[in-house]
Symmetry: C2
C-alpha cells in the first residue's frame, strides 16, 4: 500500500511561518499510518510490560528544548528508539492486568479527526457537532444498555470525574445552600455522608476528599462472601448515622468492582435511598459495556431507580482513552452545581451549552470516536466481542476448577478471573503467587495484576482486548503452569 | 500523493472478530490523512461559525445504533454530509472569538500516536513513556517560560482542572485535617476564603464551588482602570476577613485575563501571601505561552514567589485540545490531597505514579503531542509565531487608534484587542456593536466575541491561529468597516 519508499524520504522541517505544508502533511501522515498498521500487526512481538528501568527515558532525552525546529523524520526515529521501549502495550492481547482495555482502528480514526477539528465544546455555537453528536450517541448507548429514557448521557474524561460530578450533584440536591455559603464556617451543617462498599473503587473516596467531605464523610460498608455490599449493613449504617445527627445523602453501588468484578445488588439499595431521599449512583465503569449483551443486562437491575450510572466505553468498548459517560436523571442539579456564565460567554440562544454541566469549561469532541466505533462494529459486532471475552473467562475458570494446583478466589463475573496457585505442600501461598506474578510480568510474555481478598494474595486476569483469542488464554494458562 | 482513486474504494466492513485488517487500516488511514490535508488547505472556504440551526444534526441522525456494522466509507461520507456543516472551525484563521486557538500538524500526529498506544498512566509501570516524557517536556517548557527550577510540571486536561488541583493542594496545606474529617459538621472550622479579581476566569469560582467552599468562600477584588487586581484592595480584604475570624488561604492572580488579557501585578501580591501563609496561584492559561518570548517574560514577574502557575499549550502553542500544565512547588501537598493506593494498585517500586497527583486515576499520554510540537517548530519557531501574533494585534490597534469610528477599550496585551465602534452621532453604542458582531458572525466570514467593560459592550478580537497572516487582519478590519 505504500506509495513511497523509505529511501525517498526527504527531510521535513517546519516552514518559517504557518504550519506544515499539505504535501508534507500527507507524507508524514501516510508514514504515521503505516507505522501504526505495522505496530498492530507486530504487537505480539513486544514485551507486554515495558522492560526499561525507571529513569531510562528521562536519562536519554535532552535536558532542554531544541532551539531550532528538527526534521520530522528525526522525531519519528526517536519514537522508535526512545518512546517504544518505554511503552507498556495495553493493546497486547496478553495484557491481562488491571482491566484489559484496548482501542480499535475506528476509535483511533475518530480521535484523529477530532484532533484535526480541535473544537472546544463550551457554548453550543462553538461546537454544534460535538454538542449534538454527544447527545445522540450517548442515547444510542443508553438504549444498547437497556437503560430507561429518563437518563441523559454526558461525556466526561474518566469515571473518577463522572462519579465526582454525580456526588457533587447529589450534594447540590440537599438544598443546604452549599453552592452559596459552602461548608466551612457553618455550625448549622451536620456531617454529610456518602456510603459505598469496602470493594468500591478508590475514585469514590478521591471524589469525596476533593468535595471537602473528608474521609469521615465516606462510610465503607461490609461486603458478603461474594464481595457485594450488604444491603442490611447499609441500612443499619444509615440509621445509626441519622441517630447521630449526620445527613446521609448518597450511596455509590458498583456493578463490576475492580478487585473481583463483583456485582452489588443495586435493587436492594433502592428502598433505603428512597426513604431517606438519598442519591443512588452506580459505578458500572467496567461492566456497563457488558450490559449491551442481552443475557448480562440483568446485572443492571435496580438502575431503573438509580439517579446516575457511569460507564466507560474506553474500558471495554474499544474506544481510545478517555471517554466516560455519566447517565444522570437530574441534569438540572448538575447545572445548578456548576453553571456560571461570565459576560464573555453570554449568548441569546436557548440551547444546551456543555460548559454548564461540569468543572471543565471546554470539552473535547469525544463523541466522534464512539460514533465511529458503534457504527463500524454495529451493536451486534460489539455484543459478539464482549460475549466472546466472557466465554474465554469461563473457559479459563473451568481449567482452574479442574486443576488441583489452582483455585478460584471469587465468582467469575463478566470477563475477570480471580484465582491463585495452591499446590499441595506449599506453606506460603501469598509469597508463591506474588513471585509467580512477578516472574510472568518480568518475562514480558503477559501482564497480570493482583488484589487481596480476605487477606489472601490473589491473581487477577482480565480479558477484554479486541485482539484476544482462545490461543492467548491457552498461552497464559501454559505460562502459569510452567512457571509454577 | 494519493495512491488510489476514489473509484477504487472498496467497501470496508468490520471482520467477524478482532479489529480492522492491516490492509484496511492503511486504506482508511490514508484516506483520513488526505481528508485532513484537504480540510486544512480549504479551511478558509468554510464559514467560521457553523451555520446550522440548533437540532439540525440531531434531527438528521438515526435515533438508534445500527444493529450491524456499516461500511467505513459510509461513515466517512456522513462526516462530510452531517458532521462538517455542524463544525465551528477553530482552525480558521479568522476565528477571533474567545481565544483563538488552533492545532498544528505535529500536534495532530502526536495525538494520533497517543490514541494508538492507548496507554493509561496510573502507575509508572503502566506507562513509563508517558510518566517520564511528561516530566521532561514540562521541564523544557518551564525553561522556555523562564520559570525557576523549583516548579514541577504536571499535565491535566484543562486550566479549570489545573486550578482546581492548585486550590485543593492549598486547602490541604492548611493542616486543618480536611482530608481526614472534611468540612461539614465542624463547628471548629471558620470560613475559608480564596481571593481573585473581578476579571478572573469563571473556572476559579467553579473550582471553589466544587471544593465545597461556596460562593461565600470566594472574594472578588476590585480592579484598577486597566483591569488588574488591586494589591491594596486585596490586602484590605484579607485583613478585614481575618478580623472576622475567617481564614484566607489562597490568592488566584491572572496573567492574561479572558476579557482583556490584562496582567495582574503578581509581584505585588507576594508580600501579603507570605505574611499570611497563603497559597499564590497564577492563572496564565492564555499568556503562559507568550512567556516563551523573551521580551514578554517580564509579565510573569512575581511567579518566582508563586506556589503554582497554570499554562495551556492547547491555547497558544498549537497543541490539540486538551493539554494544560500546572507548575507547582508543592507536589507533596497535591499528593497528600489525592493519593490513595488500593491493594490492586500496590507495587514495590519507588517511582512516580501519576495517579497520586490528581482526581483522575488514569491519564492520557498527552506529553507526546507537546513533544512533537516543540521539536518540530523548535523554541525559536514557536517564539516567532507568537511574536508575530502580538505584532498583528498591535497593527490592528494602530488602525483603530487612527480611526475616528473606532476606539480601544482596554490596553492591548499579548494578542487580544478589545475595541468598539464609536461613530459620531450614534446614541446606543452597545446596540450598534452587538449588531455589528452578530452580522459578522452570521456572515461566516469571521468570528468575534464580546465582553462588557465598565458596563460597555466591547468587541474582543483574539489573534492566535497558526495560519493567521496580515491579510486576515486586513480582512476583518475591512469587514468591520463595511458592516458599520
Amino acid at each position: 500500500m505504500k506509495n513511497y519508499e523509505k529511501s525517498e524520504l526527504k527531510k521535513i522541517f517546519a516552514p518559517a511561518s504557518g504550519d506544515m505544508s499539505a504535501e508534507d502533511f500527507r507524507r508524514v501522515g501516510y508514514e504515521m499510518i503505516d507505522w501504526i498498521a505495522d505496530y498492530f500487526q507486530n504487537i505480539e512481538q513486544f514485551p507486554v510490560l515495558s522492560q526499561v528501568e525507571p529513569n531510562w527515558l528521562k536519562d536519554n532525552l535532552p535536558k532542554s528544548a531544541p532551539a531550532e525546529g528538527e526534521d520530522f523524520q528525526e522525531i519519528l526515529s526517536d519514537v522508535d528508539k526512545l518512546i517504544l521501549p518505554a511503552v507498556t502495550h495495553w493493546n497486547h492481547p496478553n495484557f491481562h492486568g488491571l482491566f484489559s482495555t484496548s482501542t480499535s482502528a475506528a476509535g483511533i480514526f475518530g480521535e484523529l479527526l477530532s484532533a484535526a477539528f480541535d473544537m472546544k465544546a463550551m457554548l453550543w455555537r462553538t461546537a454544534p457537532a460535538s454538542t449534538e453528536l454527544e447527545e445522540v450517541v450517548t442515547d444510542w448507548l443508553r438504549q444498547m444498555m437497556n437503560l430507561d429514557a429518563g437518563f441523559r448521557g454526558i461525556i466526561y474524561d474518566t469515571a473518577s470525574v463522572s462519579t465526582l460530578h454525580a456526588i457533587a450533584a447529589a450534594r447540590e440536591g440537599l438544598d443546604l445552600k452549599i453552592r452559596e455559603t459552602g461548608m466551612s464556617g457553618r455550625s448549622d451543617l451536620p456531617l454529610l455522608r456518602v456510603y459505598t462498599s469496602e470493594q468500591s473503587h478508590s475514585s469514590v473516596e478521591k471524589a469525596v476528599l476533593l468535595l471537602g467531605l473528608g474521609q469521615k464523610g465516606l462510610r465503607k460498608i461490609e461486603c458478603d462472601a461474594q464481595f457485594r455490599m450488604r444491603a442490611d449493613r447499609l441500612r443499619e449504617a444509615i440509621e445509626e448515622d441519622k441517630q447521630n445527627g449526620y445527613i446521609p445523602f448518597c450511596v455509590v453501588a458498583t456493578v463490576g468492582t475492580t478487585s473481583t468484578a463483583s456485582i452489588d445488588p443495586v435493587d436492594q439499595y433502592v428502598a433505603v435511598c428512597e426513604e431517606n431521599a438519598m442519591w443512588l449512583h452506580v459505578d458500572a465503569a467496567y461492566a456497563g459495556s457488558a450490559a449491551i449483551v442481552p443475557e448480562l443486562q440483568t446485572y443492571l437491575k435496580g438502575c431503573e431507580r438509580a439517579d446516575s450510572v457511569v460507564t466507560n466505553p474506553h474500558k471495554w468498548m474499544f474506544t481510545p482513552f478517555d471517554l466516560s459517560v455519566l447517565y444522570c436523571r437530574h441534569t438540572d442539579l448538575l447545572k445548578r452545581a456548576f453553571a456560571l456564565v461570565p459576560e464573555y460567554l453570554k449568548t441569546n440562544e436557548t440551547v444546551t451549552n456543555q460548559m454548564d454541566y461540569g468543572i471543565q469549561l471546554g470539552r473535547r469532541f469525544r463523541s466522534l470516536k464512539l460514533w465511529f466505533v458503534i457504527r463500524y462494529f454495529g451493536q451486534n459486532g460489539l455484543i459478539e466481542r464482549i460475549r466472546e471475552h466472557c466465554r474465554l473467562a469461563q473457559l479459563l475458570a473451568s481449567w482452574i476448577e479442574e486443576s488441583d494446583d489452582w483455585e478460584l478466589t471469587a465468582p467469575v463475573n463478566f470477563a475477570l478471573v480471580c484465582f491463585r496457585a495452591c499446590p499441595k505442600g506449599v506453606e506460603n501461598l501469598d509469597e508463591l503467587n506474588e513471585k509467580l506474578m512477578n516472574n510472568i510480568n518480568a518475562s514480558g510474555e503477559a501482564y497480570l495484576s493482583h488484589t487481596k481478598l480476605n487477606g489472601k494474595f490473589t491473581l487477577r486476569l482480565s480479558i477484554g482486548n479486541i485482539r484476544v483469542e482462545e490461543r492467548h488464554i491457552e498461552k497464559i494458562w501454559n505460562l502459569l503452569n510452567e512457571k509454577l
